[in-house]
Symmetry: C2
């Protein structure tokens, strides 16, 4: 069995910077046509100069691969209309983080509502800059996403022309919200399609499966699968692939993030094939994102075959999801 995925897109990707970038960038660039690049560096990407300089470092790191980094800014409530108008030429979206909610998000926004962020969100709406949101409250870890949904609702209602992407959704409740507001969209990760909290903490504790938002309940995973497997037109693949060196994972205090970029397409084929919906994968990993973001990524055809592939133990000092395990599909060639 074989499938050709055209112009795969990863609409939520952490490439990091420095030495880590040299590991991650070629791995994503090999199989993906493009990716939405998250801006939570240290310091966060908040100026056009930083966007351009980060983009340049990414393009240097990808080597000979054809790959388009769709750049983002780290949301600040101080952005002016003029700044955003200029920024629009350089970015694809702006990413909003609640302060301190995940890796390198300390400079995020502490009060997220339609009043506090009115000016910036109105400007983004008018300039047609999509808003990507890490949607979690500061509540109990299993409730954070559900508690944040009222914020999504308020923003969607108050800024009906603003495209709002609920990033890496993990709950049934978030999936259901897609039907309620025309301007709400979502990304879903590979790992949230695969795992629940049981995989993280039900047997041994698995630091390499620990992520934010944390994997939820079986019924939540079922809802995510239903949306992805049916290639819901408002849902895109976004890996949230988030590498940390092994020393930050297998430690006293383990950082959040699952590294999936190099094995994502293979694992998605496996999952979609087993659910007998392989035909819908093209939409989930590319077409929906092209439509939602109006993208024309560079042409790429990734040929995958149903043959066993044993995942590398590490890439550099990063342990990927499925390290040393077998996946039922492998990449045969990239055209």
């Amino acid at each position: 069995m074989k499938i050709i995925l055209k112009d795969p897109l990863d609409m939520h990707l952490h490439l990091r910077d420095g030495e880590m970038l040299k590991i991650t960038a070629p791995l994503s660039a090999k199989y993906f046509s493009g990716a939405l690049i998250m801006p939570n560096l240290i310091p966060p990407v908040t100026s056009i100069e930083q966007v351009e300089s980060y983009k340049k470092r990414i393009l240097q790191a990808i080597g000979e691969n054809v790959f388009k980094p769709y750049m983002t800014l780290f949301f600040k409530d101080s952005y002016s209309y003029e700044f955003l108008k200029e920024a629009k030429k350089h970015i694809t979206a702006i990413k909003l983080y609640p302060a301190g909610i995940t890796t390198n998000s300390e400079g995020g926004v502490s009060k997220i509502d339609s009043f506090s962020l009115k000016e910036v969100l109105e400007a983004m709406s008018e300039l047609e800059i999509p808003l990507c949101v890490h949607g979690e409250s500061e509540g109990f870890v299993m409730d954070r996403e559900s508690e944040f949904l009222s914020v999504y609702e308020e923003l969607a209602r108050e800024f009906p022309k603003l495209k709002i992407i609920m990033e890496h959704i993990t709950t049934k409740d978030a999936v259901n919200l897609l039907e309620k507001y025309e301007n709400l969209y979502a990304t879903i990760t590979l790992h949230h399609l695969y795992i629940t909290l049981d995989d993280v903490a039900g047997g041994l504790l698995r630091p390499h499966l620990f992520c934010k938002p944390i994997a939820k309940r079986p019924e939540d995973r079922m809802a995510l699968r239903k949306a992805a497997f049916s290639a819901h037109p408002k849902v895109m693949f976004g890996s949230d692939s988030a590498p940390h060196p092994v020393s930050k994972k297998e430690s006293l205090g383990c950082a959040a993030g699952v590294f999936t970029a190099p094995i994502a397409l293979q694992a998605l084929c496996d999952l979609f094939e087993k659910a007998d919906v392989l035909d819908n994968l093209q939409k989930f990993v590319s077409d929906n994102a092209k439509n939602i973001y109006s993208l024309t990524p560079p042409k790429k055809e990734v040929v995958l075959v149903k043959e066993e592939y044993e995942v590398e133990e590490r890439f550099g000092d990063v342990v990927p999801m499925f390290s040393k395990e077998k996946i039922g599909w492998r990449v045969e060639s990239v055209l």
Copy 2:
């Protein structure tokens, strides 16, 4: 401020064996009069010879301390009445594990109901041997204890003379069940009084706080605190102190267990004092257990004072709870 705790008892303790026993036994024996010793060794403690030989190793390991190990057998549905009658002279309780539910429980029982276990439980009831249970289903990790409660109910109803101890309870639902059946009792750990899942996985992932059953929701912790702080007469302190070498905690797959024995009394004083219920601690850490199990432990008076104590980073190669953190109380002397 000062408190004298008389004959502290730890009614759920993992001392392990071999080199680890040499680390753990003196630490528990220093501050506690006695403890109920869990039988999940490799292989599990299932014969009188094993009980006596393990007891001997424990007594060798405690050194000069005065300490009574209350021994247990690992529940097997094959135990005969005659065996149990003889065993009763050597043990204080029998511990029932669902197969595979926690560390070294592979030889546990795969089908727990009043019919399958009828003979053994009737014999234990008649012989007045208490049944200690690790009460978790095989369901979703946050639901396992709640799902198991119907088993407790069935056993409590069918064997009304059998003392059943719900070990290391973690949920509001389990606390509520204490009122419903006269023959149901419970132990509560130190860590479940302190933490929720937020502490394990809400910020960085904390392997040294990972345990089975997993820490639950804030409202569950509140119910546990209410029961402990009021020294509910059916509730006893059982640390479930469960050491693993650091290599098994800060690793790819982290074993379940929090090591609390050497800091438990200090941390309990801190917690009870802050809740203004220090007067109830004596019952929680000793009197209730004496009544429930009819114990007469060796006399010991542990004098604790309200003075800052920085917890040791490690004991041997085990990282304790609160490693390098400060606790508001320390042990002044043991009489």
